[in-house]
């Protein structure tokens, strides 16, 4: 019975990656849920909006790196981030002006907005691939690890090491800051209250003098910011590949819906639920059980519930399960 080793193994392979991935999904899901709450449609272009913002950040990072600018030990991408955010805001506003505004004016059915967002997705996807290419891009620098596995083993004398990448730590920290900032904005500022009012009951909000154009503008600005940050953090932590961002759409939608679409807190909760489920259900627990169980009962097989190939399937199965048993999500969002 080696509880400490088991716990460290669990932390290293499930807890830490889950927290990082969950934060990335949560930031992405926040963008989706905001668009749903205020603009009332499911934005299929969100993944590619993340890719677009991340792409510009990468280009700026490369330029800064070529100039020799560095904020070692932190990655240079953090300085380039505001530039990427500005470009992403530009994209979102242009798309809103050219595409969604018309449909708002003619009061199209919700499904038409979704089809329009598919068109926007095509355009954005094509642009990203055209500008930066469809392949993997690396742009992280700075120190890699906060704690290395062997340093941890040396420090504690345990068999199992715990390694925390700098990007993982940054992800959790930045995500936390963003979430707190968003909540402060929504709860404490006038514009935030106006947004919540507009989302809850459009007619009454308009009667109270809320300016819908401004609300829509602010929403897109926030969505652009959150999606760029999420995209850059994901790219730093794993890698940047345009197709991956499109694939992330499904877990992000699952996260938003599981938590309760239209509710920011739901998006965050959903993000972590989906991330931890994906990781926990596809992990091979053989070593874990070896530490916990006595000699006679040690397992032979991998003790893996589902193969890692089914990671995306899991987020979807969770989504379907939630839609069947609790359609408004865990925190009972909008229907």
């Amino acid at each position: 019975m080696d509880i400490l080793n088991a716990l460290v193994l669990f932390a290293n392979f499930i807890l830490v990656p889950g927290l990082a991935y969950g934060s990335q999904l949560a930031l992405g899901a926040l963008g989706i849920t905001l668009v749903y709450a205020v603009l009332r449609f499911s934005n299929f272009a969100h993944g590619d909006t993340m890719a677009f913002g991340a792409m510009f950040t990468i280009l700026l990072t490369w330029w800064l790196q070529s100039l020799g600018v560095s904020i070692d030990p932190l990655p240079t991408a953090l300085i380039a981030l505001p530039g990427g955010i500005v470009m992403s805001m530009g994209l979102c506003l242009v798309m809103d002006r050219l595409v969604y505004r018309h449909h708002r004016q003619v009061k199209s059915a919700p499904v038409v907005y979704v089809i329009a967002s598919v068109g926007v997705m095509f355009v954005t996807n094509g642009l990203v691939r055209f500008i930066i290419g469809p392949n993997d891009q690396q742009f992280s620098d700075g120190t890699r690890f906060l704690i290395r596995a062997r340093d941890f083993k040396a420090m504690t004398g345990l068999n199992e090491g715990l390694s925390i990448k700098l990007t993982q730590g940054l992800t959790v920290l930045i995500a936390l800051v963003c979430m707190l900032a968003l909540f402060w904005f929504l709860k404490r500022t006038r514009t935030g209250k106006a947004m919540r009012a507009y989302s809850d009951n459009e007619s009454l909000a308009l009667l109270s003098g809320v300016d819908p154009q401004r609300i829509v503008l602010i929403t897109w600005l926030i969505v652009a910011t959150l999606s760029t940050i999420a995209g850059v953090l994901y790219g730093l932590d794993k890698s940047f590949k345009p197709f991956t961002y499109f694939q992330l759409l499904l877990p992000m939608f699952a996260a938003a819906i599981v938590g309760g679409i239209g509710k920011p807190a739901g998006a965050i909760l959903g993000g972590f639920v989906v991330a931890f489920s994906e990781i926990a259900l596809t992990y091979a627990y053989k070593k874990f059980f070896r530490y916990l169980l006595p000699e006679e009962h040690q397992p032979d097989s991998l003790m893996q519930l589902l193969s890692t190939d089914y990671k995306f399937a899991i987020s979807f199965v969770i989504l379907v399960a939630v839609l069947l048993w609790r359609p408004t999500g865990l925190l009972r969002g909008q229907s």
Partner: protein
């Protein structure tokens, strides 16, 4: 300024009172549309190659059938099905399973195991259904359901995993899977429709009660799961190792080239040399596929037309146009939607089987949502949602531009950057990535059509 609460929204693309006047001009538009496409395809044949032109036609026909299936779901029931890829894949798997010879050794090694695990799954599902029916909903019922599910899963896995391993270990380089039934491949087109229909029934039961964009997400997710299963369950489909060399419904080029009667026939139109015979054999094979596909397409169009004019078609349109009234009249709207969902998906499944037949191999890796799902939707929207002929025309238009966008894009960028010298980094980069601009082009086409011509090229014809 004050917006009213949105009523039950039928797709904005259909507005019967306005479209009524267009019924006569639609015929002319259809002829004009198809005429233009014919001219362009002949142009490609002359300027590039006839082989390419017919290849475009073949894939357009397959996409047209997929678009037809989607149009049935969208036009009759307003269902936004984003799971086309999954249904096409199910059809493709059917094509493989029907036509490939069974691998005797693999069946001996793991066949019974797979059968047993299938039985376990069936029993678990039946038990769960029985519990749902017998017990009152509540905490007790949920816990029991969960327990049964868990136990069923554990038992199934214990039987399933060893048999899968045994099957995949049997001659993995050449098979490593169970094989199929060894029946003629044309039969698989029908089976593909059945597979897709079965899949649609299961999905529809779960997802059809949801709001339109939830349905989109649900169907997208389910198609991803189907593709994941096909890619990973090697014992069934060989996964990413692909199953190639599927039997053909048309003769092989080589067989034609060796046939003296064929060589004589070719000599009448050309010099009779090796290359002419080879070129002619390839064309004849492709044209045979065209004939087969065209037959299926015309059959479906005829069936759809008959359904449209029948009372059933009128009822479906009436339900779509005013669901509340239909509900009040006692029509079970969800059941009707399920019917439409199954029929549309079955059509897509047939097209999927046809595609795999054309390619002669099942390659799960090539099923990607952009090419299958979203491109088909662009075809439906551009061609005219709610109009079957429009969906077909849309398929031809969009597929043509999808294929020709690459050479045309290269040409465009070459002329645009002709001022720059050949070594210019920007020019090289743009030429390399020109193919991605076709995604942008498709997106722009979709957005323009949605905004300026939401009814598409061939709007829906209203029949009273």
């Amino acid at each position: 300024m004050v917006s009213e609460s949105s009523e039950q929204a039928s797709p904005v693309i259909s507005a019967p009172s306005v479209v009524d006047a267009r019924t006569s001009s639609n015929g002319l538009r259809a002829i004009a549309g198809f005429g233009v496409m014919a001219v362009m395809l002949i142009g490609v044949g002359i300027l590039q190659s006839w082989s390419l032109s017919i290849a475009i036609i073949n894939l357009s026909l397959v996409s047209a059938i997929m678009a037809l299936g989607i149009n049935v779901q969208w036009g009759y029931a307003g269902l936004f099905n984003v799971g086309i890829m999954g249904f096409a894949a199910l059809g493709g798997v059917a094509a493989m399973l029907v036509s490939v010879e069974p691998v005797q050794g693999a069946w001996a090694a793991g066949g019974t195991g797979i059968g047993l695990s299938g039985l376990c799954v069936g029993i678990t599902v039946l038990l769960m259904m029985a519990i749902r029916r017998a017990m009152a909903p509540g905490k007790g019922q949920r816990w029991l359901l969960f327990a049964v599910l868990l136990i069923g899963l554990v038992i199934t896995r214990s039987v399933y995993l060893p048999s899968v391993e045994a099957i995949e270990r049997f001659d993995p380089a050449r098979s490593g899977f169970l094989g199929g039934l060894g029946l003629p491949i044309l039969f698989s087109w029908f089976v593909g429709g059945l597979f897709a229909a079965a899949g649609a029934w299961m999905i529809g039961k779960v997802a059809l009660g949801l709001r339109s964009d939830y349905l989109a997400i649900a169907t997208l997710g389910i198609s991803e799961i189907i593709i994941a299963i096909i890619k990973n369950e090697d014992w069934l489909t060989r996964g990413v190792k692909n199953v190639s060399g599927l039997p053909r419904p048309v003769p092989y080029e080589v067989a034609l080239q060796r046939n003296p009667a064929f060589v004589e026939w070719v000599a009448r139109f050309s010099d009779g040399g090796q290359e002419a015979v080879r070129g002619a054999s390839s064309l004849v094979v492709k044209l045979s596929y065209t004939g087969l596909f065209l037959t299926v397409l015309l059959l479906f169009l005829w069936l759809a037309r008959r359904a449209q004019r029948a009372p059933w078609g009128r009822m479906m349109r009436a339900i779509r146009d005013n669901e509340t009234a239909a509900n009040a009249m006692g029509k079970n709207v969800t059941r009707r939607h399920l019917q439409i969902f199954i029929i549309g998906s079955a059509i897509v499944g047939v097209a999927g089987a046809m595609l795999v037949t054309l390619e002669g191999q099942l390659t799960p890796g090539t099923y990607n949502p952009l090419r299958y799902t979203f491109l088909i939707w662009v075809m439906v929207i551009v061609g005219g949602s709610g109009n079957n002929l429009g969906a077909v025309l849309g398929a031809f238009i969009i597929w043509f531009f999808w294929v020709e966008a690459e050479p045309l894009g290269q040409l465009l960028i070459q002329t645009l950057t002709s001022g720059l010298d050949a070594e210019n980094v920007l020019r090289i980069h743009m030429l390399q990535h020109a193919s991605h601009m076709r995604l942008v082009l498709m997106g722009i086409v979709l957005l323009l059509v949605l905004r300026f011509s939401p009814k598409g090229v061939l709007p829906e014809q209203v029949r009273r």
